[in-house]
């Protein structure tokens, strides 16, 4: 009897250790960190990454106005079936923002979803997309964010129910969903390849426009086919050529002006996306259109 208890205890210990090992936060490898630290960061290039990534769309205060230098105070609420996620302050404030983060801290947050203290971030923060960004872009982005106004706002905690309060479990989620390759494969023109980089790595369009499986991972087989609105009202439209039926010019002009070909005006979460996309170069908006038309 005692031997059985010892055996069961040993098994539980092993299972626990296995879980602990599987779910451990894993940052960028040493070679990537070495490359990253040797880069020269340019805040002007970083501004391009910032607007392509749509950072301000989620991290500015609720209802904030369109601004060249947005205050990334956080506080917007994102309702999902897992609970309510609240965007944190990522302004360069030293205590309440990310002003004291090193470059490796920033890159591990963006590309591996790990805080400087080594905790997993919830994938409401789309690091699975940013993992495909270039290290140079990450360094430039951090340099740009450092030029924005600091905010001492403190965003409330996420409102999640057990078991989603258990961050360690995100390690398992990451083992399944982090580190995927590009969705659109094949011999691509330079323009479509640029569009792919913008859409899949930076602008993370799929986070809303692609449905999710029951674990909250993107269903890559239904890429950009539209999805239920996570906050419950209506649907996020599909943006494949078949679902949208828009020309290259229609897409590019929509991203610039917010006007659909029927001259409806974008609203909802897409209004903030368009405000950011309007700041890209026309060539980049064309590249996004070319990418979307290359799907299917």
């Amino acid at each position: 009897m005692q031997r059985v208890a010892v055996f069961v205890f040993g098994l539980a210990l092993l299972a626990g250790a296995g879980f602990w090992w599987l779910t451990r936060p894993q940052g960028l490898d040493d070679a990537d960190i070495a490359t990253l630290m040797a880069l020269d960061a340019d805040p002007e290039r970083g501004a391009g990454v910032f607007w392509a990534g749509g950072c301000a769309g989620c991290h500015s205060a609720p209802g904030a106005e369109d601004d060249d230098a947005p205050v990334l105070s956080g506080g917007q609420r994102f309702e999902t079936e897992f609970g309510v996620f609240i965007a944190p302050n990522i302004s360069p404030h030293p205590d309440h923002g990310i002003g004291t983060w090193g470059r490796a801290d920033f890159a591990n947050a963006m590309m591996r979803g790990i805080s400087p203290q080594g905790a997993h971030y919830y994938p409401a923060f789309p690091y699975t997309a940013y993992a495909l960004a270039d290290l140079q872009e990450i360094a430039d982005l951090q340099a740009f964010i450092a030029t924005l106004p600091p905010s001492d706002a403190v965003a409330p905690e996420h409102e999640l129910a057990f078991p989603f309060t258990f961050r360690r479990g995100i390690g398992l989620w990451k083992a399944r969903y982090l580190g995927e390759d590009w969705v659109l494969q094949g011999d691509l023109s330079p323009e479509v390849e640029r569009g792919r980089h913008l859409v899949e790595a930076l602008a993370h369009c799929a986070e809303c426009h692609t449905p999710r499986d029951s674990f909250g991972g993107l269903d890559r087989a239904a890429w950009m086919e539209g999805a239920p609105n996570p906050s419950g009202d209506g649907r996020i439209p599909g943006i494949t050529p078949g679902a949208l039926g828009w020309s290259r010019q229609d897409i590019a002009l929509y991203l610039e002006s917010g006007f659909t070909p029927e001259f409806d005006v974008a609203g909802g979460s897409m209004a903030a996306v368009v405000r950011a996309m309007a700041r890209l170069t026309p060539a980049d908006r064309d590249a996004i259109a070319a990418y979307l038309l290359a799907l299917e």
Partner: protein, 151 residues
């Protein structure tokens, strides 16, 4: 039996018509018609601003005049209580409109002002038209952002 079949059909027909009638609301129809007319005129100045259509001062001014007058149409009977998307089908109007009518009104006033600015410059060339169309689009977006549900 030969009598009952047409009778049944007409009862069913009436019931169907009743169901359709129950889904339409004159106030909702009126406000949606108004949005359609906004888009009808925005298409002219918007297409010019976007470069889809060559600039034409007369056509731009006519569309801008229309938008000015359309945004002066009194809204008083278009937004009765109970016509939000949680209460009825066939609308994307969010309940928040009625929870903060002052904000809704302020956003409508911003639209009126943008239409007035556009009317003032629409005939003055493409460089004058473009920012004014942008301002009008931003006024539309501000309200859609807050008060209109996804499809």
């Amino acid at each position: 039996m030969p009598f009952r079949t047409p009778l049944l059909a007409s009862i069913l027909g009436l019931a169907t018509a009743g169901a359709v009638l129950a889904d339409t609301n004159p106030a909702v129809d009126a406000r949606q018609a108004q949005f359609t007319l906004y888009a009808h005129n925005l298409a002219v100045v918007g297409s010019m601003a976007q470069g889809r259509m060559d600039y034409d001062a007369d056509a731009a001014q006519t569309a801008a005049d229309n938008l000015y007058h359309l945004t002066r149409h009194d809204q008083g009977r278009m937004w009765p209580e109970g016509t939000d998307n949680a209460s009825i089908e066939g609308t994307r109007a969010l309940p928040g409109i009625w929870e903060d009518l002052d904000d809704f009104t302020a956003k409508f006033v911003a639209l009126q002002e943008a239409a007035e600015s556009l009317q003032a410059v629409a005939g003055d060339g493409l460089d004058a038209l473009r920012p004014a169309v942008g301002q009008l689009g931003a006024a539309c977006a501000a309200c859609h952002d807050a008060n209109r549900a996804e499809r």
